[in-house]
Protein backbone atom coordinates (compact mmCIF):
# COMPACT_ATOMS: atom_id res chain seq x y z
CA UNK A 1 0.00 0.00 0.00
CA UNK A 2 1.52 3.30 -1.01
CA UNK A 3 1.29 6.81 0.36
CA UNK A 4 -2.28 8.00 0.67
CA UNK A 5 -4.26 10.91 2.06
CA UNK A 6 -6.31 9.96 5.06
CA UNK A 7 -8.89 11.88 7.01
CA UNK A 8 -10.75 11.06 10.19
CA UNK A 9 -13.53 9.20 8.36
CA UNK A 10 -11.22 6.94 6.35
CA UNK A 11 -9.04 6.34 9.38
CA UNK A 12 -12.06 5.41 11.47
CA UNK A 13 -12.93 2.73 8.92
CA UNK A 14 -9.40 1.36 9.28
CA UNK A 15 -9.58 1.21 13.06
CA UNK A 16 -12.56 -1.14 13.31
CA UNK A 17 -11.04 -4.21 11.61
CA UNK A 18 -7.89 -3.84 13.67
CA UNK A 19 -9.77 -4.10 16.97
CA UNK A 20 -10.01 -7.61 18.42
CA UNK A 21 -13.46 -9.05 17.77
CA UNK A 22 -13.70 -10.39 21.31
CA UNK A 23 -13.66 -6.87 22.71
CA UNK A 24 -10.12 -6.96 24.06
CA UNK A 25 -9.06 -3.35 24.56
CA UNK A 26 -6.13 -1.89 22.63
CA UNK A 27 -4.03 1.02 23.84
CA UNK A 28 -4.41 4.19 21.79
CA UNK A 29 -0.68 4.31 21.18
CA UNK A 30 -0.70 0.70 19.99
CA UNK A 31 -3.57 1.43 17.61
CA UNK A 32 -1.64 4.37 16.18
CA UNK A 33 1.36 2.12 15.52
CA UNK A 34 -0.86 -0.51 13.91
CA UNK A 35 -2.46 2.10 11.66
CA UNK A 36 0.91 3.64 10.74
CA UNK A 37 2.26 0.24 9.74
CA UNK A 38 -0.81 -0.62 7.74
CA UNK A 39 -1.18 2.71 5.94
CA UNK A 40 2.56 3.34 5.68
CA UNK A 41 2.25 6.89 6.98
CA UNK A 42 2.79 8.48 10.35
CA UNK A 43 -0.59 8.94 12.02
CA UNK A 44 -0.55 12.19 13.94
CA UNK A 45 -2.36 12.34 17.31
CA UNK A 46 -4.99 14.86 16.19
CA UNK A 47 -5.96 12.74 13.22
CA UNK A 48 -6.09 9.57 15.29
CA UNK A 49 -8.15 11.03 18.10
CA UNK A 50 -10.48 12.64 15.56
CA UNK A 51 -11.14 9.22 14.04
CA UNK A 52 -11.50 7.63 17.46
CA UNK A 53 -14.02 10.25 18.56
CA UNK A 54 -16.10 9.60 15.44
CA UNK A 55 -16.32 5.93 16.38
CA UNK A 56 -17.12 6.79 19.99
CA UNK A 57 -19.93 9.10 18.91
CA UNK A 58 -21.48 6.41 16.75
CA UNK A 59 -21.15 3.86 19.55
CA UNK A 60 -19.01 1.50 17.51
CA UNK A 61 -16.22 1.47 20.05
CA UNK A 62 -15.92 1.97 23.76
CA UNK A 63 -13.09 3.53 25.69
CA UNK A 64 -11.40 2.94 28.98
CA UNK A 65 -9.37 5.62 30.55
CA UNK A 66 -6.14 5.23 32.39
CA UNK A 67 -2.53 5.16 31.35
CA UNK A 68 -2.54 5.97 27.63
CA UNK A 69 -6.23 5.06 27.32
CA UNK A 70 -7.68 2.11 25.48
CA UNK A 71 -10.42 1.46 22.98
CA UNK A 72 -12.39 -1.69 22.32
CA UNK A 73 -15.06 -2.90 19.97
CA UNK A 74 -18.41 -1.94 21.47
CA UNK A 75 -21.23 -4.33 22.23
CA UNK A 76 -23.96 -4.42 19.60
CA UNK A 77 -26.89 -4.59 22.04
CA UNK A 78 -25.31 -3.32 25.20
CA UNK A 79 -24.61 -6.71 26.68
CA UNK A 80 -22.92 -8.74 24.01
CA UNK A 81 -19.87 -7.64 22.05
CA UNK A 82 -19.96 -7.43 18.29
CA UNK A 83 -19.93 -10.56 16.16
CA UNK A 84 -17.46 -12.98 17.59
CA UNK A 85 -15.48 -15.14 15.23
CA UNK A 86 -15.35 -18.50 16.96
CA UNK A 87 -12.03 -20.27 17.39
CA UNK A 88 -9.95 -17.22 16.58
CA UNK A 89 -6.78 -17.15 18.63
CA UNK A 90 -7.84 -14.33 20.92
CA UNK A 91 -5.73 -12.16 23.16
CA UNK A 92 -5.91 -13.32 26.75
CA UNK A 93 -8.59 -11.49 28.73
CA UNK A 94 -7.12 -9.32 31.44
CA UNK A 95 -8.64 -9.76 34.89
CA UNK A 96 -10.20 -6.31 34.84
CA UNK A 97 -12.28 -7.25 31.78
CA UNK A 98 -13.39 -10.52 33.31
CA UNK A 99 -14.90 -8.78 36.33
CA UNK A 100 -18.10 -7.68 34.62
CA UNK A 101 -18.88 -11.09 33.06
CA UNK A 102 -18.27 -12.67 36.47
CA UNK A 103 -20.62 -10.21 38.14
CA UNK A 104 -23.33 -11.04 35.57
CA UNK A 105 -22.85 -14.74 36.24
CA UNK A 106 -22.95 -14.36 40.03
CA UNK A 107 -26.05 -12.21 39.94
CA UNK A 108 -27.72 -14.55 37.46
CA UNK A 109 -27.04 -18.25 37.06
CA UNK A 110 -24.99 -18.70 40.23
CA UNK A 111 -27.56 -17.00 42.45
CA UNK A 112 -30.40 -19.01 40.89
CA UNK A 113 -28.39 -22.14 41.67
CA UNK A 114 -28.45 -21.29 45.39
CA UNK A 115 -32.22 -21.75 45.29
CA UNK A 116 -32.86 -19.12 47.94
CA UNK A 117 -36.40 -18.64 49.32
CA UNK A 118 -38.45 -15.71 48.11
CA UNK A 119 -38.21 -13.81 51.39
CA UNK A 120 -34.42 -14.05 51.48
CA UNK A 121 -31.94 -11.50 50.22
CA UNK A 122 -28.63 -11.77 48.48
CA UNK A 123 -26.14 -9.27 47.21
CA UNK A 124 -23.05 -9.36 45.09
CA UNK A 125 -20.24 -6.97 45.88
CA UNK A 126 -16.99 -6.23 44.07
CA UNK A 127 -14.56 -6.47 46.97
CA UNK A 128 -11.36 -6.44 44.95
CA UNK A 129 -10.49 -2.93 46.08
CA UNK A 130 -11.93 -3.09 49.57
CA UNK A 131 -10.21 -4.10 52.74
CA UNK A 132 -6.76 -3.68 54.23
CA UNK A 133 -4.22 -2.44 51.70
CA UNK A 134 -1.50 -4.71 53.05
CA UNK A 135 -3.62 -7.68 53.95
CA UNK A 136 -2.33 -10.77 52.19
CA UNK A 137 -5.07 -12.60 50.30
CA UNK A 138 -7.70 -10.61 52.13
CA UNK A 139 -9.40 -9.15 49.09
CA UNK A 140 -11.57 -11.59 47.18
CA UNK A 141 -12.59 -10.22 43.79
CA UNK A 142 -16.26 -10.67 44.61
CA UNK A 143 -18.33 -11.70 47.57
CA UNK A 144 -21.89 -12.95 47.51
CA UNK A 145 -23.81 -12.69 50.74
CA UNK A 146 -27.14 -14.37 51.23
CA UNK A 147 -29.45 -14.12 54.22
CA UNK A 148 -32.57 -16.17 54.90
CA UNK A 149 -34.79 -17.20 57.74
CA UNK A 150 -36.01 -20.74 58.37
CA UNK A 151 -39.61 -21.76 58.21
CA UNK A 152 -39.70 -23.65 61.52
CA UNK A 153 -36.38 -23.03 63.19
CA UNK A 154 -35.56 -19.79 64.96
CA UNK A 155 -32.83 -17.45 63.84
CA UNK A 156 -31.37 -16.73 60.42
CA UNK A 157 -28.79 -18.15 58.15
CA UNK A 158 -26.14 -15.91 56.58
CA UNK A 159 -23.77 -17.37 54.02
CA UNK A 160 -20.82 -15.50 52.67
CA UNK A 161 -19.15 -16.72 49.48
CA UNK A 162 -15.82 -15.35 48.31
CA UNK A 163 -14.65 -15.56 44.70
CA UNK A 164 -11.09 -15.34 43.52
CA UNK A 165 -10.88 -14.64 39.80
CA UNK A 166 -7.94 -15.80 37.70
CA UNK A 167 -7.06 -15.21 34.07
CA UNK A 168 -6.35 -17.96 31.57
CA UNK A 169 -2.62 -17.91 32.17
CA UNK A 170 -2.70 -16.61 35.71
CA UNK A 171 -4.07 -19.65 37.53
CA UNK A 172 -1.96 -22.10 39.45
CA UNK A 173 -2.23 -24.27 42.55
CA UNK A 174 -1.28 -21.16 44.49
CA UNK A 175 -4.62 -19.63 43.49
CA UNK A 176 -6.41 -22.47 45.29
CA UNK A 177 -4.59 -21.53 48.45
CA UNK A 178 -5.43 -17.88 47.86
CA UNK A 179 -9.13 -18.79 47.68
CA UNK A 180 -8.68 -20.99 50.75
CA UNK A 181 -7.05 -18.16 52.70
CA UNK A 182 -10.03 -15.93 51.98
CA UNK A 183 -12.31 -18.37 53.80
CA UNK A 184 -10.86 -17.13 57.09
CA UNK A 185 -13.48 -14.38 56.60
CA UNK A 186 -16.14 -16.24 54.62
CA UNK A 187 -18.00 -19.55 54.60
CA UNK A 188 -17.43 -20.66 51.04
CA UNK A 189 -14.35 -20.10 48.92
CA UNK A 190 -14.51 -20.29 45.14
CA UNK A 191 -11.84 -20.10 42.51
CA UNK A 192 -13.10 -18.74 39.18
CA UNK A 193 -10.81 -19.53 36.29
CA UNK A 194 -11.19 -18.13 32.80
CA UNK A 195 -10.25 -21.24 30.89
CA UNK A 196 -11.46 -21.27 27.29
CA UNK A 197 -11.85 -24.45 25.27
CA UNK A 198 -8.61 -25.86 23.90
CA UNK A 199 -6.58 -23.47 26.02
CA UNK A 200 -2.99 -24.49 26.64
CA UNK A 201 -3.66 -23.88 30.32
CA UNK A 202 -6.04 -26.87 30.33
CA UNK A 203 -2.96 -28.93 31.10
CA UNK A 204 -3.13 -27.57 34.66
CA UNK A 205 -6.84 -28.16 35.14
CA UNK A 206 -6.70 -31.66 36.64
CA UNK A 207 -4.12 -30.68 39.24
CA UNK A 208 -6.01 -27.54 40.24
CA UNK A 209 -9.30 -29.43 40.43
CA UNK A 210 -7.64 -31.99 42.72
CA UNK A 211 -6.38 -29.27 45.03
CA UNK A 212 -9.81 -27.60 45.10
CA UNK A 213 -11.39 -30.92 46.10
CA UNK A 214 -8.78 -31.53 48.73
CA UNK A 215 -9.26 -28.12 50.36
CA UNK A 216 -13.01 -27.80 49.90
CA UNK A 217 -12.74 -24.90 47.48
CA UNK A 218 -15.26 -24.45 44.71
CA UNK A 219 -13.95 -24.33 41.17
CA UNK A 220 -15.84 -22.43 38.48
CA UNK A 221 -14.60 -22.66 34.95
CA UNK A 222 -15.42 -19.61 32.85
CA UNK A 223 -15.26 -21.00 29.34
CA UNK A 224 -16.61 -17.99 27.52
CA UNK A 225 -17.04 -14.64 29.29
CA UNK A 226 -19.37 -13.47 26.54
CA UNK A 227 -21.82 -16.36 26.73
CA UNK A 228 -24.74 -16.39 29.15
CA UNK A 229 -24.02 -20.05 29.96
CA UNK A 230 -20.29 -19.60 29.80
CA UNK A 231 -19.54 -20.68 33.37
CA UNK A 232 -19.49 -24.21 34.71
CA UNK A 233 -19.09 -25.37 38.31
CA UNK A 234 -16.43 -28.09 38.34
CA UNK A 235 -16.10 -28.46 42.11
CA UNK A 236 -18.52 -27.55 44.90
CA UNK A 237 -17.11 -25.79 47.95
CA UNK A 238 -17.36 -27.14 51.46
CA UNK A 239 -18.83 -24.80 54.08
CA UNK A 240 -16.15 -23.60 56.50
CA UNK A 241 -16.86 -23.13 60.18
CA UNK A 242 -15.55 -19.61 60.14
CA UNK A 243 -16.05 -17.73 63.39
CA UNK A 244 -19.09 -15.41 63.24
CA UNK A 245 -16.91 -12.65 64.66
CA UNK A 246 -14.51 -12.88 61.67
CA UNK A 247 -17.38 -12.89 59.19
CA UNK A 248 -19.04 -9.96 60.93
CA UNK A 249 -15.87 -7.88 60.85
CA UNK A 250 -15.31 -8.73 57.20
CA UNK A 251 -18.82 -7.66 56.17
CA UNK A 252 -18.55 -4.51 58.23
CA UNK A 253 -15.66 -3.30 56.08
CA UNK A 254 -16.77 -4.62 52.68
CA UNK A 255 -20.45 -3.70 52.49
CA UNK A 256 -22.12 -0.35 52.11
CA UNK A 257 -24.53 0.98 54.72
CA UNK A 258 -27.49 0.19 52.47
CA UNK A 259 -26.29 -3.37 51.93
CA UNK A 260 -25.75 -3.91 55.65
CA UNK A 261 -29.19 -2.56 56.41
CA UNK A 262 -30.75 -4.86 53.84
CA UNK A 263 -29.03 -7.86 55.37
CA UNK A 264 -29.91 -6.83 58.89
CA UNK A 265 -33.59 -6.50 58.02
CA UNK A 266 -33.75 -10.09 56.76
CA UNK A 267 -31.79 -11.44 59.70
CA UNK A 268 -34.13 -9.65 62.10
CA UNK A 269 -37.18 -10.81 60.19
CA UNK A 270 -38.27 -7.30 59.26
CA UNK A 271 -38.31 -7.63 55.47
Amino acid sequence: MGQMEVNAETLARRILPLLPQDGTPVLNRVMRVMLSRQLEIQIEPDLYFGARDLLLQTGKIGRSRGQSGQIFLAALNGSQPAAVEPALPAEPWPEARLMQPLRIYLEGAFRRGLDLPADSTSLVQDSSAKGPAKGLWARPDFILVSAMRFKFMPGAQVDVHSFELKTETGCSVLAVHEALAQTRFTHFGHLVWHLPERSRSEARLAEIEDHCDEHGIGLIRMRDPLASEGCEILADPVRKSTLPMAVEGFLETRLSAVQKDSLARVVRGKS
Binding site: E40, E44, P89, P92
Partner: protein, 304 residues
Protein backbone atom coordinates in the same frame (compact mmCIF):
# COMPACT_ATOMS: atom_id res chain seq x y z
CA UNK B 1 21.13 17.98 4.04
CA UNK B 2 21.80 14.79 2.08
CA UNK B 3 21.03 11.61 3.94
CA UNK B 4 23.86 9.45 5.17
CA UNK B 5 24.46 5.89 4.04
CA UNK B 6 25.73 3.48 6.71
CA UNK B 7 26.80 -0.09 5.95
CA UNK B 8 26.97 -2.58 8.80
CA UNK B 9 29.20 -5.40 7.67
CA UNK B 10 31.51 -8.19 8.74
CA UNK B 11 32.37 -11.37 6.89
CA UNK B 12 32.01 -13.28 10.13
CA UNK B 13 28.53 -14.31 11.19
CA UNK B 14 27.08 -14.03 14.66
CA UNK B 15 28.90 -10.84 15.60
CA UNK B 16 25.74 -8.78 16.07
CA UNK B 17 25.27 -7.14 12.67
CA UNK B 18 21.49 -7.36 12.69
CA UNK B 19 21.29 -6.32 16.33
CA UNK B 20 23.45 -3.31 15.48
CA UNK B 21 21.35 -2.41 12.44
CA UNK B 22 17.98 -2.64 14.17
CA UNK B 23 19.01 -1.03 17.45
CA UNK B 24 21.00 1.74 15.73
CA UNK B 25 18.07 2.49 13.40
CA UNK B 26 15.75 2.74 16.39
CA UNK B 27 18.27 4.74 18.42
CA UNK B 28 18.73 7.28 15.62
CA UNK B 29 14.98 7.59 15.12
CA UNK B 30 14.37 7.90 18.87
CA UNK B 31 17.14 10.46 19.27
CA UNK B 32 15.41 12.93 16.95
CA UNK B 33 11.73 12.61 16.07
CA UNK B 34 12.28 14.56 12.85
CA UNK B 35 14.74 12.01 11.55
CA UNK B 36 13.67 9.29 9.12
CA UNK B 37 15.59 6.05 8.82
CA UNK B 38 15.52 3.42 6.09
CA UNK B 39 16.85 -0.06 6.74
CA UNK B 40 17.90 -1.98 3.64
CA UNK B 41 18.24 -5.68 4.23
CA UNK B 42 20.90 -7.15 1.95
CA UNK B 43 20.95 -10.49 3.76
CA UNK B 44 18.75 -13.27 2.31
CA UNK B 45 18.28 -14.56 5.85
CA UNK B 46 16.02 -11.49 6.26
CA UNK B 47 16.89 -11.19 9.95
CA UNK B 48 16.65 -7.39 10.07
CA UNK B 49 13.43 -7.55 8.05
CA UNK B 50 11.71 -9.91 10.44
CA UNK B 51 12.94 -7.97 13.47
CA UNK B 52 11.42 -4.75 12.16
CA UNK B 53 8.33 -6.01 10.37
CA UNK B 54 7.47 -9.19 12.26
CA UNK B 55 6.46 -12.46 10.66
CA UNK B 56 3.05 -11.48 9.38
CA UNK B 57 3.95 -8.19 7.75
CA UNK B 58 7.12 -9.61 6.22
CA UNK B 59 5.08 -12.48 4.78
CA UNK B 60 2.74 -9.92 3.20
CA UNK B 61 5.65 -7.95 1.75
CA UNK B 62 7.27 -11.03 0.24
CA UNK B 63 3.90 -12.15 -1.12
CA UNK B 64 3.37 -8.71 -2.70
CA UNK B 65 6.90 -8.67 -4.18
CA UNK B 66 7.86 -5.71 -2.02
CA UNK B 67 11.42 -6.90 -1.55
CA UNK B 68 14.91 -6.09 -2.76
CA UNK B 69 15.20 -9.35 -4.67
CA UNK B 70 11.88 -8.65 -6.43
CA UNK B 71 13.23 -5.24 -7.45
CA UNK B 72 16.45 -6.68 -8.85
CA UNK B 73 14.53 -9.42 -10.61
CA UNK B 74 12.11 -6.98 -12.24
CA UNK B 75 14.76 -4.40 -13.06
CA UNK B 76 17.77 -6.42 -14.16
CA UNK B 77 16.32 -9.71 -15.36
CA UNK B 78 12.85 -8.82 -16.62
CA UNK B 79 14.05 -5.37 -17.71
CA UNK B 80 10.98 -3.63 -16.26
CA UNK B 81 10.95 0.00 -15.13
CA UNK B 82 10.35 -0.77 -11.47
CA UNK B 83 11.33 1.95 -9.01
CA UNK B 84 13.14 0.95 -5.84
CA UNK B 85 11.02 3.34 -3.78
CA UNK B 86 7.91 1.30 -4.63
CA UNK B 87 9.38 -1.68 -2.79
CA UNK B 88 9.93 0.17 0.48
CA UNK B 89 7.47 -0.27 3.31
CA UNK B 90 7.11 3.12 4.95
CA UNK B 91 6.44 3.49 8.67
CA UNK B 92 7.24 -0.13 9.42
CA UNK B 93 8.33 0.29 13.03
CA UNK B 94 6.21 -1.28 15.74
CA UNK B 95 8.08 0.70 18.37
CA UNK B 96 6.66 3.85 19.93
CA UNK B 97 8.61 6.72 21.38
CA UNK B 98 7.79 10.21 22.62
CA UNK B 99 4.24 10.22 21.34
CA UNK B 100 4.71 8.61 17.93
CA UNK B 101 5.86 5.45 16.21
CA UNK B 102 9.54 5.58 15.25
CA UNK B 103 10.06 6.85 11.71
CA UNK B 104 11.66 3.75 10.26
CA UNK B 105 11.03 2.32 6.81
CA UNK B 106 12.19 -1.02 5.47
CA UNK B 107 13.36 -2.44 2.19
CA UNK B 108 13.18 -6.11 3.07
CA UNK B 109 15.01 -9.00 1.58
CA UNK B 110 13.58 -12.37 0.74
CA UNK B 111 15.28 -15.73 0.45
CA UNK B 112 15.30 -15.39 -3.32
CA UNK B 113 18.10 -12.79 -3.30
CA UNK B 114 20.80 -15.44 -3.63
CA UNK B 115 19.05 -16.91 -6.70
CA UNK B 116 18.39 -13.48 -8.21
CA UNK B 117 22.05 -12.50 -7.80
CA UNK B 118 23.09 -15.72 -9.54
CA UNK B 119 20.55 -15.15 -12.29
CA UNK B 120 21.82 -11.60 -12.83
CA UNK B 121 25.40 -12.84 -13.15
CA UNK B 122 24.25 -15.61 -15.55
CA UNK B 123 22.29 -13.16 -17.71
CA UNK B 124 25.10 -10.64 -17.86
CA UNK B 125 27.61 -13.39 -18.62
CA UNK B 126 25.39 -14.49 -21.53
CA UNK B 127 25.62 -10.94 -22.79
CA UNK B 128 29.42 -11.31 -22.69
CA UNK B 129 29.88 -9.12 -19.63
CA UNK B 130 33.06 -9.88 -17.71
CA UNK B 131 33.38 -9.58 -13.94
CA UNK B 132 34.13 -5.87 -14.19
CA UNK B 133 31.05 -5.39 -16.34
CA UNK B 134 28.83 -7.24 -13.88
CA UNK B 135 30.19 -5.16 -11.03
CA UNK B 136 29.66 -2.08 -13.18
CA UNK B 137 25.99 -2.93 -13.68
CA UNK B 138 25.53 -3.27 -9.92
CA UNK B 139 27.39 -0.03 -9.33
CA UNK B 140 25.16 1.72 -11.85
CA UNK B 141 21.98 0.42 -10.24
CA UNK B 142 23.25 1.43 -6.84
CA UNK B 143 24.09 4.95 -7.98
CA UNK B 144 20.75 5.35 -9.74
CA UNK B 145 18.48 3.97 -7.07
CA UNK B 146 20.14 3.68 -3.66
CA UNK B 147 22.03 6.97 -3.63
CA UNK B 148 18.83 8.83 -4.42
CA UNK B 149 17.25 7.36 -1.29
CA UNK B 150 19.55 9.70 0.61
CA UNK B 151 17.35 12.54 -0.63
CA UNK B 152 14.32 11.00 1.09
CA UNK B 153 15.80 9.51 4.26
CA UNK B 154 18.21 11.02 6.77
CA UNK B 155 19.88 7.69 7.33
CA UNK B 156 19.97 4.61 5.10
CA UNK B 157 21.39 1.61 6.95
CA UNK B 158 22.46 -1.51 5.04
CA UNK B 159 22.44 -4.85 6.82
CA UNK B 160 25.12 -6.76 4.90
CA UNK B 161 25.23 -10.56 4.83
CA UNK B 162 28.11 -12.46 6.41
CA UNK B 163 29.78 -12.91 3.01
CA UNK B 164 30.84 -10.53 0.28
CA UNK B 165 28.08 -10.45 -2.30
CA UNK B 166 28.34 -8.11 -5.28
CA UNK B 167 25.58 -5.92 -3.90
CA UNK B 168 26.98 -5.73 -0.38
CA UNK B 169 30.42 -4.90 -1.79
CA UNK B 170 28.94 -1.95 -3.66
CA UNK B 171 27.04 -0.84 -0.53
CA UNK B 172 30.19 -0.99 1.58
CA UNK B 173 32.19 1.04 -0.93
CA UNK B 174 29.48 3.63 -1.52
CA UNK B 175 28.43 4.24 2.09
CA UNK B 176 29.43 7.27 4.12
CA UNK B 177 30.31 5.05 7.06
CA UNK B 178 31.07 1.37 7.45
CA UNK B 179 30.46 -0.07 10.90
CA UNK B 180 32.10 -3.42 11.57
CA UNK B 181 30.57 -5.11 14.62
CA UNK B 182 33.17 -7.36 16.22
CA UNK B 183 33.11 -9.61 19.25
CA UNK B 184 36.36 -8.99 21.13
CA UNK B 185 37.59 -12.56 20.96
CA UNK B 186 40.38 -14.24 19.05
CA UNK B 187 38.25 -15.80 16.30
CA UNK B 188 36.25 -12.65 15.55
CA UNK B 189 39.30 -10.39 15.53
CA UNK B 190 41.25 -12.88 13.40
CA UNK B 191 39.38 -12.19 10.13
CA UNK B 192 39.07 -8.48 10.75
CA UNK B 193 42.39 -7.49 9.16
CA UNK B 194 41.65 -9.47 5.97
CA UNK B 195 38.19 -7.91 5.68
CA UNK B 196 39.52 -4.39 6.18
CA UNK B 197 42.43 -4.90 3.76
CA UNK B 198 40.12 -6.27 1.07
CA UNK B 199 37.89 -3.22 1.06
CA UNK B 200 40.16 -0.39 2.09
CA UNK B 201 43.23 -1.39 0.09
CA UNK B 202 41.55 -2.78 -3.05
CA UNK B 203 39.68 -0.38 -5.29
CA UNK B 204 36.50 -1.04 -7.22
CA UNK B 205 35.93 1.45 -9.99
CA UNK B 206 38.67 3.57 -8.50
CA UNK B 207 36.87 3.71 -5.17
CA UNK B 208 37.58 2.60 -1.65
CA UNK B 209 35.15 3.30 1.22
CA UNK B 210 34.80 6.98 2.09
CA UNK B 211 35.88 6.73 5.72
CA UNK B 212 38.18 4.45 7.64
CA UNK B 213 36.51 1.30 8.98
CA UNK B 214 34.81 1.86 12.30
CA UNK B 215 34.91 -1.12 14.61
CA UNK B 216 32.07 -1.53 17.09
CA UNK B 217 32.79 -3.92 19.91
CA UNK B 218 29.73 -6.09 20.43
CA UNK B 219 28.58 -8.84 22.75
CA UNK B 220 31.21 -7.74 25.23
CA UNK B 221 31.55 -9.75 28.41
CA UNK B 222 33.58 -7.73 30.85
CA UNK B 223 34.05 -10.79 33.03
CA UNK B 224 35.89 -12.65 30.25
CA UNK B 225 39.60 -11.93 30.29
CA UNK B 226 40.01 -12.61 26.55
CA UNK B 227 37.35 -10.01 25.75
CA UNK B 228 39.15 -7.38 27.83
CA UNK B 229 42.49 -8.21 26.25
CA UNK B 230 41.23 -8.14 22.66
CA UNK B 231 39.30 -4.91 23.29
CA UNK B 232 42.44 -3.34 24.73
CA UNK B 233 44.45 -4.57 21.75
CA UNK B 234 41.95 -3.03 19.31
CA UNK B 235 42.11 0.24 21.23
CA UNK B 236 45.90 0.21 21.02
CA UNK B 237 45.88 -0.57 17.28
CA UNK B 238 43.40 2.24 16.62
CA UNK B 239 45.36 4.71 18.75
CA UNK B 240 48.70 3.87 17.15
CA UNK B 241 47.31 3.83 13.61
CA UNK B 242 48.68 0.34 13.00
CA UNK B 243 48.04 -1.21 9.61
CA UNK B 244 45.31 -1.83 8.62
CA UNK B 245 44.18 1.49 10.01
CA UNK B 246 40.93 1.34 11.93
CA UNK B 247 38.78 3.54 14.10
CA UNK B 248 37.10 2.23 17.23
CA UNK B 249 33.79 3.39 18.65
CA UNK B 250 34.02 4.34 22.31
CA UNK B 251 30.60 2.76 22.86
CA UNK B 252 30.73 -0.90 23.79
CA UNK B 253 27.72 -3.11 23.19
CA UNK B 254 27.48 -5.63 26.01
CA UNK B 255 26.18 -9.16 25.74
CA UNK B 256 22.74 -8.42 27.14
CA UNK B 257 19.55 -10.42 27.27
CA UNK B 258 17.60 -7.19 26.86
CA UNK B 259 19.05 -6.68 23.38
CA UNK B 260 18.18 -10.22 22.36
CA UNK B 261 14.67 -9.82 23.75
CA UNK B 262 14.27 -6.47 21.99
CA UNK B 263 14.66 -8.19 18.65
CA UNK B 264 12.09 -10.86 19.36
CA UNK B 265 9.07 -9.05 20.75
CA UNK B 266 6.65 -9.73 17.93
CA UNK B 267 5.82 -13.38 18.43
CA UNK B 268 2.23 -14.49 18.47
CA UNK B 269 2.21 -15.32 22.16
CA UNK B 270 2.94 -11.79 23.30
CA UNK B 271 0.34 -9.24 24.29
CA UNK B 272 -0.48 -6.11 22.31
CA UNK B 273 1.78 -4.08 24.57
CA UNK B 274 4.71 -6.42 24.02
CA UNK B 275 4.21 -6.51 20.28
CA UNK B 276 4.11 -2.72 20.14
CA UNK B 277 6.46 -1.67 22.92
CA UNK B 278 7.74 1.76 23.73
CA UNK B 279 11.39 2.34 22.91
CA UNK B 280 12.40 2.62 26.56
CA UNK B 281 10.47 -0.50 27.55
CA UNK B 282 11.97 -2.40 24.63
CA UNK B 283 15.59 -1.63 25.42
CA UNK B 284 15.40 -0.96 29.16
CA UNK B 285 18.81 -0.23 30.61
CA UNK B 286 20.36 -0.48 27.14
CA UNK B 287 18.78 2.82 26.04
CA UNK B 288 21.65 4.84 27.50
CA UNK B 289 24.24 2.82 25.59
CA UNK B 290 22.23 3.10 22.38
CA UNK B 291 21.87 6.86 22.83
CA UNK B 292 25.64 7.13 23.16
CA UNK B 293 26.13 5.03 20.03
CA UNK B 294 23.70 7.20 18.05
CA UNK B 295 25.55 10.33 19.16
CA UNK B 296 28.88 8.82 18.27
CA UNK B 297 27.71 7.74 14.81
CA UNK B 298 26.33 11.22 14.18
CA UNK B 299 29.62 12.71 15.33
CA UNK B 300 31.59 10.55 12.89
CA UNK B 301 29.24 11.39 10.00
CA UNK B 302 29.39 15.09 10.80
CA UNK B 303 33.18 15.00 11.05
CA UNK B 304 33.28 15.83 14.74
Amino acid sequence: MAGKLIAVANMKGGVGKTTTVVSLAEALAADDSNVSVLVVDLDPQASASVCLAGDDLLFEMIKDDKTLDAFLDERLIKQEKTKLNSKIHKAVSATYHAGSPLKISLLPCGLDLRFVEREIIYNLTKKSFFTKGIEGQMWKQFNQEFLSLGKIYDYVIFDCPPRISTLSEVAIRASDLVIIPTIPDFISAYGLAAFVKFFWEKEMFGQTPKRLPHILITRLLTTVRQHKRVAARLEEAAAKGESPVIRLFRTRVPQAAKLADALSTMDDESSFKERYPTYSRKYGDMTLMLGQLAQEVKGVLNGI
